[in-house]
């Protein structure tokens, strides 16, 4: 097993990579929104736009043998983890070439080969599962980390507290990543939590915890590398709160009555892609030509994903009951 470096090396290549991944998520999801209005994608569609720095930053610290448990707002995590864009798009089209054969949709992306355990649409519901994956690793003496993503809304769920306590009590290698975007659907953090400092809750479980600016991809990556290095070293869990913001509506049905436009504009003004691009250009780490090249590559990838999804096929209805249980039992 190789060890990811605990430090961020911001050379030109890495800056390009961070920007490329964030732009991939942004453009992919912009296309998803468009396809939703064309009714190519149905159901709930939860966009990650504005929060890209979290998934991109955290994934830099993970290795292929590590596991990921994500939420229903997980397109970005799946993309950065390496789930092919075409198979994600095909999933949203409900096609059998999708990463869950069209059974899951936007909220339930799975990919066994990349240890991507979904796509959980019950707030907090992935947290016990992540704890159990880490329990298996600990009991089998595998030096792997399970990264568990969830929103700050999960902090109100019992499963959050039960999982944090279990992971800390049993010293399990879980990286808990709270994507604090300030709203649980439409309920503001201060309307739902007596203690709005989420990382303080983790500290209450004797877990190492820190809060970072989730709009700054470099800060997220640095913290994630520190956290993952600590987890590999000690085997104990680590809590990372990334303070971020969702630019788009909660889902495509959300008229956003609960927040005003000025607030959204304040946050978009410090958006992760905008900020990183400005910094990297000024620091001379990237040039406009790099950005143009990235946009071109991403546009091709997104177009390819759409073409793949369009060309996909629907699973025969005869297979509806397939995989409710194993086809063969001992």
């Amino acid at each position: 097993m190789t060890q990811a470096s605990p430090k961020v090396w911001l050379d030109r290549q890495h800056c390009r990579e961070l920007l490329h991944q964030m732009i991939r998520i942004r453009r992919f999801e912009e296309k998803c929104a468009e396809l939703y209005t064309q009714e190519k994608i149905r159901g709930f569609l939860h966009l990650y736009i504005g929060e890209e720095a979290v998934a991109v930053g955290v994934m830099q610290a993970l290795l292929p043998e590590d596991a990921i448990v994500a939420t229903y707002r997980e397109h970005g995590h799946a993309l950065v983890r390496g789930v092919p864009a075409g198979s994600i798009m095909a999933e949203m089209y409900g096609k059998q070439e999708g990463c869950s054969r069209g059974r899951g949709g936007s909220m339930h992306l799975f990919d066994a080969a990349r240890r991507f355990y979904g796509g959980n649409a019950i707030v907090g519901g992935g947290m016990p599962v992540a704890t159990g994956l880490a329990l298996a690793d600990a009991m089998m003496a595998r030096k792997q980390v399970t990264a568990c993503f969830f929103g700050e809304g999960a902090a109100a769920e019992g499963e959050f507290h039960e999982s944090m306590n279990l992971a800390a009590l049993w010293r399990l290698p879980v990286l808990f990543v709270c994507e604090n975007n300030l709203y649980a659907m439409g309920t503001a953090l201060e309307l739902s939590e007596s203690q709005t400092d989420i990382s303080a809750k983790a500290a209450a479980y004797n877990m190492q915890a820190e809060a970072v600016d989730g709009m700054n991809v470099v800060e997220v990556e640095a913290a994630a590398r520190r956290a993952v290095a600590a987890i590999r070293e000690t085997g104990a869990p680590y809590f990372l709160e990334c303070r971020t913001y969702r630019f788009r509506a909660h889902s495509m049905y959300d008229p956003q009555l609960y927040r005003d436009k000025a607030e959204v504009e304040r946050w978009t003004g410090r958006g992760p892609i905008k900020r990183f691009t400005e910094w990297a250009l000024e620091a001379g780490e990237i040039r406009q030509a790099d950005i143009d090249e990235i946009e071109k590559l991403v546009a091709e990838e997104v177009a390819g994903a759409v073409a793949f999804a369009e060309a996909g096929t629907f699973e025969p209805v005869a297979d509806l009951a397939r995989d409710v249980g194993a086809e063969r039992r001992p």
Partner: protein
């Protein structure tokens, strides 16, 4: 043959599974230092240590979900939930994760977890410790639901449940733990089929779990009255052994279902529906059932007795169906 209790049989099965497969471990509330709420795991902590006989905090959802995750991570957990009433705190994990993930992931992931829990009333424990919710769980596609009603099944169902690539729930009626029987050990049973526990020709009694003993006793009383009752022990509540149900009804042409769950929307209702759908022409009389009364199970002894299926109630239901 070995004389042993239902409790010993479950413990023996856990021990053998842990001895033969290092991936197997037991976790739940008070399974270790306390020795198990019903003393099922007594002595196992000393034998296997706290890693594999793992006491958990009172976090049903957390540790059940951890069992699901550990199963997906390559282990074979046995999760013990103290009573099925408490399992409601873990229902999210059982229903939304264990039962769905294989299908929802397009067959990429499976959840080979075994979840055991005590069920049933009759011990004056009141309305939050006495219910029979196995019929509810049998509603859910993606899980197998077992209800061992005999010592041999208590000992023999765990191994095939652990071999099952999908989640298996085992409901142990708490009144059975002290039952003893002379059984073949190691017990070897399947987890697919119902079993005819008593053959008969006049009427079929279909039951499972904690009601099996009462139903067999009722069959004895009926025999004394010249009524020959066949007793079918379902053993597996999901998937139902429909062939066995239809076969017994075809033999006797009359049927009473005995189920400790409430009757509205219950497993007994499902059995009746299947008989009506596929065995209607076998029937010589309307179906009947004996279930718990539609009340929260009360504390007072006489009220609790009145709420649960009784031998007398079963006998009377049979007489009514036979017009005697």
């Amino acid at each position: 043959m070995t004389v042993m209790s239902y409790r010993d049989a479950v413990r023996g099965a856990i021990r053998e599974a842990m001895q033969s497969d290092p991936r197997v471990f037991l976790m739940g509330e008070d399974v270790g230092h306390y020795g198990g709420c019903y003393a099922v795991s007594k002595g196992l902590l000393e034998e296997f240590g706290p890693e594999r006989i793992r006491d958990t905090p009172l976090s049903e959802s957390g540790f059940t979900g951890a069992g699901i995750g550990a199963a997906m991570g390559g282990l074979r957990p046995i999760v013990e939930i103290m009573t099925c009433n408490f399992s409601l705190l873990a229902l999210d994990q059982i229903m939304n994760n264990a039962a769905t993930i294989r299908h929802m992931s397009g067959g990429q992931f499976n959840v080979p977890v075994v979840i055991r829990m005590a069920t049933g009333g009759g011990r004056q424990l009141g309305a939050q410790h006495s219910h029979s919710l196995e019929g509810w769980y049998a509603h859910i596609p993606g899980i197998r639901v077992l209800a061992p009603g005999t010592v041999a099944d208590a000992g023999g169902m765990l191994a095939p449940a652990l071999d099952d690539p999908d989640p298996v729930l085992i409901f142990e009626n708490a009144l059975l733990y002290n039952d003893t029987a002379d059984v073949d050990w190691p017990a070897s049973v399947d987890i697919d089929h119902a079993a005819v526990r008593r053959e008969g020709t006049d009427i079929s009694l279909i039951t499972y779990g904690g009601s099996l003993g009462k139903t067999l006793a009722a069959a004895d009383q009926l025999a004394a009255e010249g009524i020959s009752a066949e007793v079918l022990d379902l053993r597996v509540l999901r998937p139902l052994d429909e062939d066995a149900i239809l076969a017994t009804v075809a033999r006797t042409r009359r049927c009473v279902i005995v189920d400790e769950g409430w009757q509205s929307g219950s497993i007994s209702a499902e059995i009746m529906a299947r008989i009506i759908e596929k065995g209607f022409w076998y029937l010589d009389a309307p179906l009947a059932r004996v279930c718990s009364k539609e009340v929260p199970i009360p504390y007072a002894h006489h009220l609790e007795e009145a709420a649960l299926p009784s031998i007398t109630g079963i006998v009377e239901a049979c007489r009514a169906v036979l017009g005697r």
